[in-house]
Amino acid sequence: MKKLRLRPLLVWTFLSGFVALFLLRDAGGGGLLEFGAKIQVFPALLRWEITILLFAGMTLLAGRFYCSLLCPLGLFQEAVHGLGKHRLTGYRNGTPLRYWILAATVISMAAGTLGLLHLLDPFANFGRGVTQILRPAIVAVNNLLASIPLPGDTSRFLHALPPAPLAPLVAAAAGIFLAALAGWSVFRGRPYCDGLCPVGTFLGLFSSHSLLRIRFDEGSCLNCGRCEAACPTACLSSLERKIDHDRCVLCLSCIDACPGGSLRLGILPAREGLQRRTFLRIAGGLGTALGLAFIRRSVEPLGASGAAEAAPPPISPPGSRSHENFSRKCIACSACVKACPAGIIRPALLAWGASGLFQPHLDYNFGYCQFECKSCTTACPTGAIDPLSLEAKQLVQIGRAQFHRNDCIVVKNGTACGACAEHCPTQAAHMVPYRDGLTIPKVDPSVCIGCGACHFACPATPKAMVVRGLPFHGTAKSVKAPGEGPVMDPLEEFPF
């Protein structure tokens, strides 16, 4: 009888969940998917540095199961390799490059830039891949289908969608990364987990001492080598009957492949357990990591200062508090990009400077921040964007509108316009008398929240209404007066 293999089903189910998380505005799953995003290593670390102890402890107990179950990029590699079913090449020594990558990532973070992390973090890379490649592709296919005339009324279930927000250069980078990794995975299994991933290497520091691990039953092993040919991280040598536990992700492929049941998952006997020396080494490593994390807290992120010099300054999502806070915590995973129904939150290649590579910003050339929406504020897994109530979000000043009078239609053409005031949800942009019976916009900064409605609506070229990002978000004066209802003045007689 053929052995029932649950692993591929598990991989595809979990992978689908992560795809849905970055694909659908309302991904469903009762918050489970969002939780899956929050327990990713770097998102959790950026939120609470102390969770480093949790990940270390977890891995010391149970190894790198995180990589085989919870990391979307790991699942992606395994799924792609599973499609190809290509025979793997067998044991290789772990490369020291991965330690250099981890060190460079950690040091760059402590020095105030997440740029390298943005480039290397598996979760962020996966998120950008889905939002920048898969999502636009699905929208394009949908719109193609929607353009085929079908009999009957199809408008309720198949209609054209607005193009998914796409930053061409970021999409190109994400596309190259994923295509290269997919191709590599077909032949090598999990090359990213094995040799490059800073998260995997970090967890590997602890998994080499983990209690739960795969072990050989020396007596029954026939040295057939099938386990070795099945190991996607090339960490198992069947001849030497050894497993490099720092690279083993507990995918259990070897156990599945073994015809004689000579490999099994089990607890390390106590006598082989944690030695005093190992314990001290781990404690020292953790201390250093926490120390660096706290140094990072006091270092101003380079992204923020780079952005401040940019013209015009970028606009960070409501709830991100300040450019400094945003640059300190954003992992550039594009969860907020996906969440924005207006499609204006877009990953930027360099709007935040090189140190804020791929970090998203609000681009009002594509639309404006919807007054009644707060979707992005609850989407962020790292805490770079705080959840806000709608009332609070409607008062957050993320930018400020500036009126360039000489570019205004009313001044240039001498005709009426008012598109800015028309769209302004707070009447920060409002019309005041000009000349010849015309009205002209005026901005009241105290109620301007920088939503970009005026900027987007302005029909002038160049724009007469320009919203510039505020490095420190402010709080606007409320234009709503609760309790005050409408004026009652029913028409008593017809004026004609």
């Binding site: 054209a160 129904p341 929406c373």
Partner: protein
């Protein structure tokens, strides 16, 4: 055949009564009471849907506008992601009643759309119009993509000689325009003529080429068969989006007319503005899109 003759002759056919009963120009100018449907019905003092029924009866009933098997497109103002109490969009109960009456008159299909300012889906939902219109049997369709629009020439236009217009307006048998009366920062007032900016794709063009003239020009594209102006909740300031309920005055009024300029003129007066002071209404009359002289029309005034 000029407009008036055409109208009269259509009426003669629709009503099917003797031509003797139809009044001449002189008769109206003298204010002679005549029978037959009104050109403009003004209603006050009721709920939007009740005022519509009374006004519609005075206009000759829905059978005057919709025949069995015809397709109808209803264009409310649902431009904003704003709830009904804030008066930025047309009253959903009014739209629902209009759709229902169209279907009762035998319409084969009633479409409802608007090219929104805020995100279309959010606006359709928050305005309450999508749900209300569907309840009455309408097909509510999106208008957020250029693919739904076709280039259409506008005969007699001064500036806007052609523009991209929603295909349903070009293709449907009957066109019913259902604006809401509001203050408007740019245009002064937004009523029936201004509401037609929601049937075109490129609004920016209006603003950059001359807002008032383009609004007047567009009213020549396809004369709505019926205009229903919702003046129940009237936004008297901060329009057209509004900021709070303080911007709203409950006026409990409605204007129905086959003449889009007259509808705007009557609604402007209800707002408290002289129609003459609104440039696009003046230009609309100059283009012969209609008249703002209500004395030249058969006007019914109904109080509930």
């Amino acid at each position: 055949m000029n407009r008036r003759e055409f109208l009269e002759k259509s009426l003669a056919l629709a009503v099917g009564t003797s031509a003797l009963l139809l009044p001449g120009k002189t008769g109206r100018a003298l204010g002679v009471v005549v029978s037959g449907p009104a050109d403009l019905a003004a209603v006050r003092g009721g709920e939007p849907e009740d005022m519509f029924d009374r006004g519609l009866a005075a206009m000759g009933g829905m059978k005057r506008f919709v025949s069995k098997g015809q397709t109808v497109v209803v264009k409310p103002n649902m431009a904003w992601d704003v709830r009904p109490e804030l008066g930025a969009n047309t009253n959903p109960a009014l739209v629902e009643r209009i759709v229902r009456r169209c279907i009762e008159a035998g319409a084969s299909k009633v479409y409802v759309f608007d090219h929104t300012c805020d995100l279309w889906k959010r606006s359709y939902v928050t305005s309450g119009i999508e749900e209300a219109a569907r309840r009455a049997g309408a097909t509510v369709v999106p208008a957020d993509q250029a693919r739904y629009y076709q280039k259409a020439p506008i005969a007699g236009a001064r500036i806007l000689k052609e523009t991209l217009v929603h295909e349903l307006v070009l293709q449907s048998d009957v066109f019913i325009n259902v604006p809401v009366l509001k203050n408007h920062g740019g245009a002064g007032l937004t009523i029936a003529m201004k509401n037609l900016m929601g049937i075109v794709w490129d609004r920016g063009e209006f603003h950059s080429r001359g807002l008032h003239q383009c609004i007047a020009d567009l009213s020549l594209l396809r004369k709505p068969d019926l205009n229903v102006v919702d003046a129940y909740r009237v936004m008297t300031r901060s329009g057209p989006r509004g900021t709070s309920e303080r911007d709203i005055t409950i006026r409990k009024a409605q204007v129905l007319s086959t003449d889009i300029v007259a509808a705007d003129a009557a609604a402007a007066k209800i707002f408290g503005t002289e129609p003459n002071s609104v440039e696009y209404i003046r230009q609309g009359e100059a283009l012969k899109a209609g008249t703002m002289d209500l004395n030249r029309l058969k006007v019914e005034r109904i109080a509930l």
